[in-house]
C-alpha cells in the first residue's frame, strides 16, 4: 500500500472512531468532525444561496440536524457528503422560502491567478477569459446539471461522495455527469 493510501486509511479509521463517539453523544468528537467538514458544507450552501450570512445559517442548521440524525447514520458511511447533502437541502429550502429562482450563484473571485505560475499578461488575460466563458456556460445549464458539476468539480467530491451529497445512485451520478458535461460542451460552443 502507498504512503498516501496508509494515511488515507488512518484518517478514515480516525473519522469512524469520531463518528462512533459522536453517536454515543460525545459533543467534543462531533465538534472535531464538523471542524473537518464545515468548509465544504459552507461552500455548497454559499453556491446555492449566494449570501455568506445565509450560507452560515444554513450550514449551522445542517450541523444541528445532522447531530439529531446521527442515530440513523450507517456505520462505515461517509460523513462529509452526508453533511453536504443536509447543507444543500437547507440552503435550497432557504432560497425557496425567499422566493429566489433556481440556479447556482457563480462568480469569479478577485486575483484568481496563482503568482507562482508567473504567467505573462497576455496568458493571464486569456486564462481569465477562458474561465469567464466556462463560468457563463455553466451558468446557462439547468440546476440539476449545475449541481452535479458543482459537487464533482467545485466541491471536489468523489463520484461516490457526490452520489451521497445529491441523494443519487453512483451509476446515476456517472450518467448524469456525462450528460451534463455534454450539454456544457455545447453551451461552450455556442458562446464561442
Amino acid at each position: 500500500m502507498s504512503m498516501t493510501g496508509v494515511i488515507a486509511g488512518r484518517v478514515e479509521s480516525d473519522e469512524a472512531h469520531l463518528i462512533a463517539r459522536a453517536k454515543r453523544g460525545d459533543q467534543h468528537a462531533y465538534g472535531q468532525l464538523l471542524a473537518r467538514h464545515q468548509k465544504v458544507a459552507f461552500k455548497a450552501a454559499y453556491l446555492i444561496t449566494g449570501s455568506a450570512a445565509e450560507a452560515e445559517d444554513a450550514t449551522q442548521e445542517a450541523c444541528m440536524k445532522a447531530w439529531l440524525a446521527l442515530g440513523r447514520f450507517r456505520p462505515g458511511a461517509l460523513f462529509r457528503p452526508w453533511l453536504v447533502q443536509i447543507a444543500v437541502n437547507e440552503a435550497r429550502n432557504r432560497r425557496r422560502a425567499a422566493g429566489r429562482r433556481d440556479g447556482l450563484i457563480l462568480r469569479l473571485g478577485p486575483g484568481v491567478t496563482e503568482p507562482s505560475t508567473a504567467l505573462s499578461a497576455e496568458t493571464e488575460a486569456f486564462a481569465d477569459e477562458q474561465r469567464t466563458r466556462l463560468l457563463a456556460a455553466v451558468g446557462r445549464l439547468r440546476e440539476d446539471d449545475q449541481l452535479i458539476i458543482a459537487a464533482r468539480y467545485f466541491l471536489a467530491l468523489s463520484e461516490a461522495e457526490a452520489a451521497i451529497a445529491l441523494g443519487l445512485r453512483r451509476g446515476t451520478v456517472k450518467s448524469r455527469l456525462s450528460r451534463a458535461l455534454g450539454r456544457l460542451e455545447r453551451q461552450l460552443e455556442e458562446i464561442e
Binding site: 452560515e56 442548521e61 444541528m64 484568481v112
Partner: protein, 239 residues
C-alpha cells in the same frame, strides 16, 4: 480526466466564495441532548401543555384571530413561535430612530441602575434609553446599529414571536441558557410582562434577533448579521 474536467476543477478554486466562518462553537453551544432515556416525566409534559394553553389564550387576546397554528413549542421555557402569512400592522411612527418607542434617552453609564433591575451592559455603548411601557421598566442599549433590550419578564418568562413565513428559527445556547435566534425576514415580538399581560412590542427592526432569559431578565439582541456575532455580544454583557 478530460481537459474540460480539469478546467472545471480549476474553476472551482477560482470561484468567489468567502472564507468559511468557524461555526463549530455556535453549533456545539446549541446542541440539544440527542438521546433521551425513557419517557418524559408526566408532570413536565403537563407543565409544557399548560404553558402552551396559557400562551395561546393570551396570544388570542392580543393578535388577530386569523393566525395559523402554533409552529412549535421550544425547550426555552414557555417560548412559543407562530408562523403567520402577514405580520400585524405596526403603529405609525414606530419604525426608525427615536420613534422606535425606546423611551427617554439616558447616559449609557446610568443604564445599569436606571430601571427596577440591574441591567446587563456591553463594554461599549453608543446610546441608552429607559422605557416605562412595562412594569419595572425597559432598558435599551445601542452599539452602532445593534440594539440590546432588557426587561424583567415573569418568573417563568415567556414570549411569543409572531414571524413571517420566511423567518428562520435556530435554537441555541446563550450564556448557559437556552435561546432562540430568528433570522431572515422581519418579525414582530409579543411578550408577557411581569403583570401577566401580553404586550405588543412596538420595536420592529428588519435585523436578526437573538433572545434568551438570563436570570430574571429577558434579553434581546437585534440587528447582528450572524448568530455568532450575536453570541459574542451576549458573552460580553456584564451585570
Amino acid at each position: 480526466m478530460s481537459e474540460l474536467e480539469q478546467r472545471l476543477l480549476a474553476l472551482g478554486t477560482a470561484l468567489d466564495v468567502p472564507p468559511a466562518p468557524d461555526i463549530v462553537p455556535a453549533v456545539l453551544a446549541g446542541l440539544p441532548a440527542r438521546r433521551r432515556r425513557g419517557p418524559r416525566p408526566a408532570r413536565r409534559v403537563l407543565g409544557v401543555a399548560l404553558a402552551t394553553v396559557l400562551l395561546l389564550a393570551g396570544a388570542a387576546m392580543a393578535v388577530p384571530p386569523s393566525r395559523n397554528a402554533i409552529l412549535r413549542v421550544l425547550g426555552l421555557r414557555g417560548v412559543s413561535i407562530e408562523r403567520v402569512r402577514r405580520l400585524p400592522p405596526i403603529p405609525s411612527g414606530a419604525r426608525t430612530g427615536l420613534t422606535l418607542g425606546l423611551g427617554e434617552p439616558i447616559a449609557p453609564s446610568r443604564a445599569r441602575h436606571a430601571a427596577g433591575f440591574t441591567a446587563l451592559l456591553p463594554p461599549r455603548a453608543s446610546g441608552a434609553y429607559l422605557g416605562h411601557d412595562v412594569p419595572g421598566g425597559r432598558i435599551s442599549i445601542l452599539i452602532g446599529r445593534v440594539l440590546i433590550t432588557e426587561f424583567r419578564g415573569t418568573a417563568q418568562p415567556y414570549i411569543l414571536k409572531v414571524i413571517d413565513p420566511d423567518t428562520s428559527v435556530t435554537v441555541t445556547r446563550v450564556n448557559g441558557a437556552k435561546g432562540v435566534y430568528l433570522s431572515g425576514a422581519p418579525h414582530q415580538v409579543l411578550f408577557g410582562a411581569i403583570d401577566r399581560t401580553i404586550r405588543t412590542d412596538r420595536v420592529r427592526l428588519a435585523g436578526n434577533v437573538l433572545v434568551w432569559g438570563q436570570g430574571p431578565l429577558l434579553v434581546r439582541i437585534e440587528g447582528t448579521r450572524t448568530l455568532a456575532q450575536a453570541l459574542a455580544i451576549a458573552r460580553s454583557l456584564r451585570g
